[in-house]
Amino acid sequence: MTRRYSALSLFKEGLAGQTGWKQAWRSPEPKPSYDAIVIGGGGHGLATAYYLAKNHNISRVAVLEKGWIGGGNTGRNTTVVRSNYYYPESVELYGLAHRLYEGLSKDLNYNVMLSQRGMINLCHSTAEMEIGARTVNAMQINCIDAELFSPEDVRRVAPIYNFSPDARFPVFGGIWQGRAGTARHDAVAWGYARAASRLGVDIIQNCEITDFIIEGGRCRGVQTTRGPIRAERVGMAVAGHSSVLAAKAGFRLPINSYALQACVSEPVKPILDTVVLSPGCGVYVSQSDKGEIVIGGGLDRIPSYAQRGNLPTLEAVIAGVLEMFPIFGQLKLMRQWAGIVDVVPDSSPIIGPSPLPNLFLNCGWGTGGFKAIPAGGTLLANLLATGKHNDVSRPFDLDRFASGRLIDEAAGSGIAH
């Protein structure tokens, strides 16, 4: 039986006809009670369960997923990993995620195919360059790697960009983060699932939450389509549907749900080895390891729970891609899809206790949850294990909307959202 993945085990299994591979994670029947329940089997939920077992020695944990693991936004994003944020609170949060991503393949014994190919946020005017310099300075002061690129630097990393004199959005330079890149999104979910399962976590798919068990004003578990399951503490990491669960628990959140679209072209030979974001065009582009051009843009402007997206936004995104890279004019699109994202007024996540005691929140990541998966998991696990914030999660508590201490990163990430 092969349990550990390595070059040697791959070689041995090759000789043995690939017959010794074990199922990567167990699919047990739900038990009547656990120490902790994590609602949502996406990256954040699975990471939460993994870190509960690994960091806090709590392995009587169930991850409850209404569909299949990694089938929500974890399977629908554009796989970019970066930490080019402005405010110190965000830097602590996304910096933690970025560092954990860098060690994740080893930690999980699962190749998440992190490719630190760098990312360039373009500046299209003198004014944008000034803001770019300010952002780079802030990032460097906060110990995040960043460089202010000249037009020549941009031409070096993205030679196929539209540098023609009549370009609608000419390049004045850009904000470069060399440690940014992409990771294989499914592998992140599967890697956490496998590692959590090996530490004793029960991953239960096709198990939808129908209600919360509330006794004495406290959350004591959940009612599911597979029966009641009780737990001391419950965490939810259900991006896109956070408000739906909150309504069942009897409170409201500062969230609107919107569709965020993405699309990929047919696979082509390697032509773009970095991530390029143009705020002017409202689009960012990378090339996957398979060769597809991966394209993302802004939100649909209509509140929605439909995971498909509307045509006007797709049209604007494609127009932006062609302005950035006229060379892509002949490409055929292969797939288009949308995920439902939690949009919060200050574009920062909500991590902390909910108004219902014993229920904890990990939500509100907006359009950028994938890059934060290791940090979201670490922080929700800490909350479930200790019941308390640590210094990283404290600023992201729900109470900031009453106190007014918002962490407004809308400008920090470049795409309007």
């Binding site: 549907h241 408000s243 969230i255 509140p303 729970y305 439909a306």
Partner: protein, 88 residues
């Protein structure tokens, strides 16, 4: 491309409209409104999955109105002018 019904101009392209928030989110009045009430008014949203009552503005004619919509199917259920002589 979806058509939204403006109560004043009739069915128009979705790109001509802008979402303006929950219908029925009334601004608190008075000097001694508690902080949680303000936070609720400013930030907390129902964000329903299914039927939603929303304020929209048709940017071409500049009129605000209430649209009832299904947020899963995107089907428009009703479209009503806000008060005044156009009240339905």
């Amino acid at each position: 491309m979806q058509l939204f019904p403006c109560p004043f101009c009739g069915p128009r392209d979705e790109t001509e409209f802008h979402y303006g928030g929950d219908a029925g989110n009334v601004r608190p009045d008075g000097a001694d409104v508690p902080i949680d009430r303000w936070a609720g008014y400013l930030y907390l949203r129902g964000n329903p999955k299914g039927t939603a009552r929303e304020i929209w503005v048709h940017m071409n004619c500049g009129e605000f109105f209430v649209m009832e919509r299904d947020t899963v199917t995107h089907k428009v259920l009703s479209s009503t002018a806000l008060g005044g002589e156009h009240a339905a």
